[in-house]
Amino acid sequence: MPISRGFRGRRAEVDPTRVPPGQYVVRDFPVLSAGPTPHTPLDEWSFTISGAVDEPVSWTWEELLALPTESITVDIHCVTKWSKLDTTWKGVSVDTLLEGVDTEGDYVTAWSDGDYTTNIPLEDLTGGQAWVAHTYGDEPLEPEHGGPARLLVPHLYFWKSAKWVRGLELMVEDQPGFWEAAGYHNYGDPWKEQRYWSD
């Protein structure tokens, strides 16, 4: 690889084992989305698990908040190269939402207000790896960051953590979502730097 003449860089004083290749650490919380920010009133909001399930199940906003809430502290990694360490969230574990759901699907399409979708293997959403998060820090999640609720799947690039999430559709076959169909990686493991489809 070519040496960039005179480039030194500004090495962050962070634990390198926490920053995946090609990422840099930020203190603020950048926003990236493809369209306007949706503003769905909470009394019209619901969260649904559907698709390859025996019986679709759904929750109103009040019902979601009544489910067991977990506090989560995780590092997040955006495909646009920023990482943010030790972010704190509150939300409902996907394990809790899937309790009692019978499915033959191995894949999930998370869908959101604003017609956003992203696909994730089911096994990446279970076992304490994913949440529907409604609180960031100690505040309700702001709309521009995906509020009222977003998926939180911190071990994958952050576009998999669908903002404004409204449901999970269980799929027998994997179906590329919005960014996945637009050239981004189908799985998106930051530690393997799986940014684009050919990575």
């Binding site: 960039s4 090609g22 493809a34 369209g35 521009e144 940014r195 684009y196 489809w197 050919s198």
Partner: protein
């Protein structure tokens, strides 16, 4: 979507153009460039002598029709990569890029219009690629550009914009106005978007690019004016950058 693998390739800087005191355009020779759509971006990777690397994304400013690839990079004072690219780099220097990347914030003349482009500051870059593409294709798709900048001296491509034909260009200068300035002099708001048009009834295709707060304000304004969200494409960049 072209399916050429997105691989790192070494490129050489053939020319550095001063755009503003804070921004430069790097014109690159990219052997084997697979082509791009206006609005797409590339990743740049810099390598220090000791092997340390840093990556960032930058929008492509050149049209797909141009022979060379142009990127315009604005210096972010506490950035890691942009002060190097917009300060140190000279013709003949080499680094790596890969791309093109992004399939959503793109426009081809076949996508039609009317086209409404709204830029905040350096958010003009991908929109300029669209205007250049439109000009190269001699497209008669109606196009309007609303550009918000702190002052006229912060505006990229000013002379080229002035020469563009059949594009209605509106400036709003939020901090510094030349004497006798008769254009807009405030942040973009619903009233300004109404005056610039086109009305939602004309079903324009809107592309909005700029800092997060700017894009939120403009996109919310367009939605309030009745533009369907699926006709509003956005690209935001936070205060964080390279």
């Amino acid at each position: 979507m072209p399916r050429a693998p997105i691989r790192w390739r070494t490129v050489a800087v053939s020319e550095v153009v001063d755009e503003t005191p804070e921004a430069k355009t790097l014109v690159l020779d990219v052997p084997g460039w697979p082509g791009h759509a206006a609005g797409q971006h590339v990743d740049i990777r810099l390598t220090a002598e000791d092997g340390y690397q840093a990556e960032r994304s930058y929008s492509i400013a050149s049209a797909p029709e141009d022979a060379q690839l142009a990127l315009t990079i604005e210096r972010i004072d506490d950035g890691e990569v942009s002060p190097y690219l917009a300060g140190e780099v000279r013709a003949g220097d080499e680094f790596e890029i890969r791309g093109p990347i992004g399939g959503h914030f793109t426009w081809r003349v076949s996508d039609g219009g009317p086209l409404l482009l709204v830029a905040g500051g350096s958010g003009l870059v991908p929109l300029m690629a669209m205007l250049r593409h439109r000009a190269d294709q001699r497209s008669d798709v109606e196009a309007r550009l609303l550009l918000s900048a702190r002052g006229l001296d912060d505006v990229f491509y000013r002379d080229e914009l002035a020469r563009l034909e059949n594009v209605a260009i509106h400036y709003t200068l939020t901090r510094r106005r030349p004497e006798g300035w008769t254009g807009y002099a405030r942040r973009v708001d619903v009233e300004m978007l109404t005056e610039v048009g086109p009305a939602a009834s004309e079903h324009p295709l809107a592309f909005v690019c700029g800092p997060t707060a700017f894009v939120e304000q403009v996109a919310d304004g367009l939605v309030a004016l009745g533009h369907p969200p699926d006709r509003i494409h956005t690209e935001r960049f936070g205060p964080t950058g390279g």
